[in-house]
């Protein structure tokens, strides 16, 4: 035995074994370091949203009162005191109009793509352009809406221009969400319904729509929540710093995100900015939890 270890071959084997052990130790250390890094990243991923949301909600909650959401802005410069009621009304008006235009159009388009379209190539091409539309950043919708709707069509800075601009922003998002909701409906269900000899329209209305509805509503709520907080599209199409009257189709309005922008950029009132951010975050959390509940129901 001893002769083997002192031989050339024996020495080689020992050397290799030692190297392997060292390599192994290094690999184990690497694994540990990676494990630690990964958990750290996970902790950051948890703490970052919680701290940002927590920070804004904490500061916003101190400003929030009934009068803050039920009164018009007052003081000089405007927004130092009073509330943000016109901004809430304006945001609701613009987003509501946008939804009224985008939702039926997107739902109908999704129905066509998933149920009526014959050619797969046509579906692929349409999906491609829809996703390209969804990729266009919000500011470009604002630029287009301003030049095309406000100036060229003469709609002026109004709820109408802003609503149509937001409709363009929401349309692809709702379309893609509804399309995948329709596609998620089990094939056998669709086929057995069709095999009963009723029309496609009947099958869509009575079988597919009820099944896909939670997914469609989830996509719509998320799109609307996104649109409410989006300042860039309404900055030049719908919003002004101050309004007196309640919103009407052809008048400009205040909106929540642009009000927040004005409060911060003109350094009017950081307190009221916190309050406005609180309302925006509340909208976001509401939309996200709605979507989560609906998706959970869909999975069952």
């Amino acid at each position: 035995m001893a002769a083997f270890f002192s031989s050339k071959t024996g020495y080689y084997v020992m050397h290799k074994a030692e190297q392997l052990l060292l390599n192994n130790r290094r690999a184990v250390v690497n694994d540990r370091v990676f494990w630690l890094l990964a958990w750290t990243a996970g902790a950051i991923g948890l703490l970052l949203p919680l701290s940002i949301i927590g920070y804004l909600l904490f500061h916003g909650f101190q400003v929030l009162s009934w009068s803050f959401i039920s009164e018009v802005p007052r003081g000089y410069p405007l927004g130092v005191s009073g509330g943000i009621l016109p901004a809430i009304q304006g945001s609701l008006a613009v987003t509501g109009l946008g939804l009224a235009v985008a939702f039926p159009a997107a739902l109908a388009s999704a129905i066509y793509l998933s149920e009526y379209a014959r050619s797969q190539r046509f579906v692929a091409v349409m999906r491609f352009f829809t996703e390209c539309l969804a990729a266009i950043p919000a500011i470009l919708f604002g630029v287009f809406g301003y030049a095309f709707l406000v100036v060229q069509f003469g709609f002026g800075i109004s709820v109408l221009s802003g609503g149509l601009t937001l409709a363009m922003l929401m349309y692809p998002v709702i379309l893609i969400g509804s399309y995948s909701a329709f596609n998620a409906v089990e094939r056998p269900l669709k086929e057995s319904a069709l095999s009963l000899g009723v029309s496609r329209a009947y099958v869509i209305r009575r079988t597919l729509l009820p099944k896909a509805l939670p997914g469609i509503i989830a996509a719509t709520v998320l799109a609307a929540g996104h649109a409410v907080g989006s300042a860039a599209p309404v900055l030049f199409t719908a919003s002004v710093v101050q309004t007196r009257s309640s919103p009407s189709l052809d008048s400009p309005v205040m909106t929540l995100p642009t009000h927040l922008y004005n409060l911060v950029s003109e350094a009017v009132s950081f307190e009221h900015a916190y309050g406005t951010a609180f309302v925006l975050i509340a909208c976001l959390l509401f939309a996200n939890s709605c979507a989560m509940i609906l998706r959970h129901r869909l999975r069952k």
């Binding site: 184990v28 494990w35 991923g45 630029v143 996104h226 995100p257 922008y261």
Partner: protein, 305 residues
């Protein structure tokens, strides 16, 4: 039998079959909706073309400063696109490593319960409006910068870049997680059964397989970063000088458009220049997104065929 069907309420509506009507209406909605895409692209390019009577493309992109009130107006967007590249570069430098490790954590290491908490949290992070991010950066980062770096105002390229990093990170995490989840389970099991460490399996087997998907996510995140408006507008500092250092102030392309559009009259050269800046942004983003989508579709076709 046939009379029964014919009298079915869904089959006949006042003697009219519902199907062709539904077919026509839904097709109309689709065509109208998708045509807004072409309308936007063509309209922006058409308006942008007006600027090239006043400046050449190279002057516009590289040599002229932005002085629209000079006589004649000098229209160049060098400072803007340099700022955009800086801000997005910083954002990706921070968000990509963090995002990939976070995705590895979610896909490979986290227990299901942790994953189920973490993913909705990141979803909320992705949903926070741009203007709220801008405000948050303004009251935290900018204030810290004023203390730490002893600046008169903390607004800077770095502040904008860091906030944009937080904004694009959830997107990188979700696309990378998706790519990692798509690697078959058997790869992990076979790798682990050979007695190597989990890190080795991830580094040598899983990451190479998921790399195309992760890379696509990073490129798409870049496209999102350059389109980010309000946060960049509020934090970058709106300065017309070309930024040289991280703590310089700057003005991104989106910031330039958002600042100046309200003051430009239709038909003027300044208006056309802002549209040209929009067109640069739009073409870049569409090129990136279109390219990635085409590659993805082709890969899917191959996988099926």
């Amino acid at each position: 039998m046939s009379t029964q069907f014919a009298s079915h309420p869904a089959r006949r509506l006042g003697g009219l079959t519902l199907d062709p009507l539904a077919w026509m209406l839904t097709l109309l909605a689709l065509v109208l909706g998708v045509s807004t895409f072409f309308l936007i692209v063509v309209y922006v390019l058409w308006q942008a073309a007006g600027v090239f009577g006043a400046v050449s493309l190279s002057e516009f992109l590289l040599f002229e400063p932005w002085v629209p009130l000079a006589e004649p107006p000098r229209l160049g967007i060098l400072h803007a696109w340099v700022s955009t590249v800086y801000v997005t570069g910083i954002a990706l430098l921070v968000a990509v490593p963090l995002g990939i490790v976070m995705a590895l954590f979610i896909a490979e290491i986290a227990p299901t319960a942790v994953r189920n908490i973490l993913q909705p949290c990141l979803e909320v992070l992705a949903g926070i409006p741009s203007v709220v991010y801008g405000f948050f950066g303004y009251v935290t980062l900018v204030v810290w910068f004023e203390h730490i770096f002893d600046m008169t105002t903390g607004v800077s390229i770095l502040a904008a870049g860091l906030i944009v990093a937080v904004m694009v990170m959830p997107f990188i995490v979700s696309t990378a997680t998706e790519a990692l989840d798509a690697v078959p389970r058997s790869f992990r099991e076979t790798g682990m059964s050979l007695g190597v460490t989990r890190f080795y399996v991830i580094r040598r087997i899983i990451l190479p397989r998921a790399m195309p998907g992760i890379f696509a996510g990073i490129v798409l995140a870049f496209a999102r970063g350059i389109g980010e408006t309000l946060a960049a507008l509020m934090l970058a500092g709106n300065s017309l000088a070309v930024p040289k250092e991280l703590l310089d102030r700057g003005q991104t392309l989106t910031g330039l458009i958002a600042t100046e559009l309200g003051e430009a009259a239709l038909g003027t050269e300044k208006f056309a220049a802002l549209f040209a800046a929009s067109a640069v942004l739009m073409l870049l983003i569409l090129l990136i997104n279109g390219g990635i989508l085409l590659i993805k579709n082709r890969l899917l076709c191959h996988a099926q065929g």
